[in-house]
Symmetry: C2
Subunit: 418 residues, 2 copies
């Protein structure tokens, strides 16, 4: 039987399926009789020795995590600096792990988290403390290196494609006398993965979305407006999907062009969709609506992709297996062996290759005119949104999401104020 | 066998289930061997003699309408004026009906549509033209008189409650280091029905949504901000749902307070959520996110309520039965006979009682403090969001929504330019 405790923590923006990874981690460890603690609010809880005893949760609750969005133990946006600059915090982390006999540290997050896990692993080695550090992938941004895709992205991508398809039918029905242009703002500050996923909603130049604006291409207002106008004249309406991260040729974020202060000195919170809608209204005089789904797109567990859910659980299971097998400083990544039929497997990748790299969208995924996706992008994206995995619904018509007890573990170390 | 043709038209904002009503109308009429034409873009198509021959659609396509959002034949935002002021258009409408031997006119819409159907019926009687005019209810605003609820509302209500529950889990997980306040903007310019439906997402003062802003209550900024602050201090975060129609005590729409022009003279499109988010940021200094689902909330067929779908189909079937039975100037309305277990039936109501009335939300549905819903509101709302009715999904992971051929009927009248 394995010895020592496993500590699991969630980091960065949560997703519709990060709890499915947590569910798989805890169930796999329980089956191997390994005790699982979770850090409250990610690395903050690990540093503060604010730990949760997952053994106090019944199996039904742990299973229900697989269909519950959000981050059940709390996550955080905290990036540890380099080993040198943040040495006190890394050492404190090691103290906490040692105090609770943690021999397996699973950090579920993005690039920064992989980097943190890697540094903790190096420090443990330097102190001769036997510790298996495993990074577990997660991000709706789909920007992790090495892995073919990131758990969380497929569900957000499915939400995006479905929402755009549905809203487009609404706009099409009303365009004769009402809204002619509709703008959908997709997450993606640096890469247009989610905007690209919207492209799955239709095919051909007359099907919505008619125009996709990618952060990978400079925003050219005159060209954009001319295309909106031409689309409305040809199709009768125009559905635009814009990535929040689009920039002008000078490298200025379009989102920052809106906003500012109103005449009362109040802050105006802008955003790309509201800015573009304003430009369409001013320059073309067309009736326009826009949507900013914001967190809805990354928490829509009700519309999760079955592929994404499978992969989120698979990386959780494999992370535990790697740890118990004595592997260290690795991440279970998704390897695609075929597009159609879609085949994938999990392999271990060194954290070194993942940490602090950012995967860009291949140039070959964006159509030559810059406003749509290519067949290659469809081949890549389509399997990721495939399959439905709805949560159970209650008699009240709402999904039955679980709320854990999250019982705290008794502290063993003095209070830390680092 | 019945004689004459049935003309069906869709009017006003479309919903996730208005096509389910259309599907039921066409199937019921086909079973009775009555020919069904549809007007393209609602009353506009009827006036322009731009009609669609639904007999050219295979049964499978008509059945698939039941799971397809939007308005399959096109809708419009056009309100006919009084019989006196718009007499030429009413008479033209009668000419078109007569030219195509239309003996049954089914108008699927809200208050204005009920009024139009009523006037057409009176005019037909005055001209001794035998015509059965039936209003068929539809609106996400839930503001039709007489009927207990409106087809379209239940699905939008379910979307709202589910989305708020999901986003709240996201915010809860991140609040320690990231967003502390989240604002969701619900449709509802005059009545807070959809904002109220968000209240189903939680129960008790510590569950999201923590604050609901209704158009029925004046917006008091100081009180609102104090409650946001208190909620964040008590719970750690605060989820706000705001109806787009909230007004100050002076009767000014809060949505109009945002917007205006930026320093480049560009139009700033505001909205309630972005305005409130700006105030929270300025006055409380808290990190805030907001969402504007816009058309997504009324087109989300993927998350339709089974109750709503049943009712949308039932009013369609009954409308045809009423028409063929020779009833005139009536609307099939939903009558609730019990909350638990929920029981309802369809009855005929005179269009006179529906036309131009607006159903307000009962005062007893809003909590005494003005920021939440009562037990009575829950008893009313809960059955309406109950049950799931997902569309079929394709191998590509997206809902299989149907696109009709919409073959035009040959014109019989001279071109009309009224």
């Amino acid at each position: 039987m394995a010895q020592g405790t496993l500590l699991y923590a969630q980091s960065g923006g949560v997703t519709a399926v990060i709890n499915a990874t947590a569910s798989a981690v805890i169930q796999t460890a329980r089956a191997r009789r390994v005790k699982v603690l979770a850090a409250r609010n990610g690395i903050l809880g690990a540093l503060a020795e604010d730990l949760i005893d997952t053994s106090r949760e019944p199996l039904a609750a742990i299973r229900a995590l697989a269909h519950t969005p959000g981050g059940a133990f709390g996550s955080c946006r905290v990036k540890l600096k380099s080993l040198e600059a943040d040495r006190a915090r890394y050492e404190r982390l090691l103290d906490v792990l040692r105090a609770h006999d943690v021999r397996y540290f699973l950090y579920n997050g993005g690039n920064d988290s992989a980097d943190t896990a890697l540094k903790v692993s190096r420090l443990a080695a330097a102190f001769d403390y036997p510790l298996a550090c495993i990074g577990v992938p997660k991000t709706v941004d789909n920007d992790l290196a090495v892995t073919d895709c990131c758990p969380g992205f497929g569900s957000a991508a499915k939400y995006t494609a479905v929402s755009v398809r549905e809203a487009a039918l609404d706009v099409a029905a009303m365009a004769e006398t009402s809204t002619k242009v509709f703008v959908y703002e997709a997450m993606g500050r640096h890469a247009g993965w989610l905007a690209a996923a919207a492209g799955l909603a239709g095919d051909g130049r007359d099907q919505a979305p008619h125009l996709i604006l990618f952060p990978e291409r400079p925003y050219d207002e005159a060209d954009f407006l001319a295309r909106v106008k031409a689309t409305v004249e040809r199709v009768g309406y125009c559905v635009v999907v814009a990535s929040e991260g689009i920039q002008t040729a000078e490298g200025r974020f379009v989102a920052d062009a809106g906003g500012g202060k109103d005449s009362f000195g109040h802050t105006q919170l802008g955003g790309v969709a509201s800015f573009l809608a304003g430009r369409v209204k001013d320059a073309l005089g067309l009736k326009v609506h826009w949507t900013l789904p914001d967190y809805l797109q990354r928490s829509a567990r009700h519309l999760a992709s079955a592929t994404d859910l499978d992969q989120a659980q698979a990386v959780g299971r494999k992370a535990v297996e790697y740890a118990l097998a004595g592997m260290n400083a690795v991440m279970p990544v998704i390897v695609r062996s075929a597009d159609a039929p879609y085949r994938w497997k999990i392999e271990a990748a060194p954290l070194e290759k993942v940490a602090n790299h950012e995967k860009k969208m291949p140039a070959g995924f964006i159509r030559r005119d810059g406003y749509g996706i290519t067949a290659a992008a469809r081949r890549y994206l389509e399997p990721l949104v495939r399959g439905e995995a709805p949560p159970p619904y209650g008699r009240d018509g709402l999904p039955k999401y679980v709320s854990l007890k999250n019982v705290s573990v008794k502290r063993k170390l003095p209070h830390w104020t680092g």
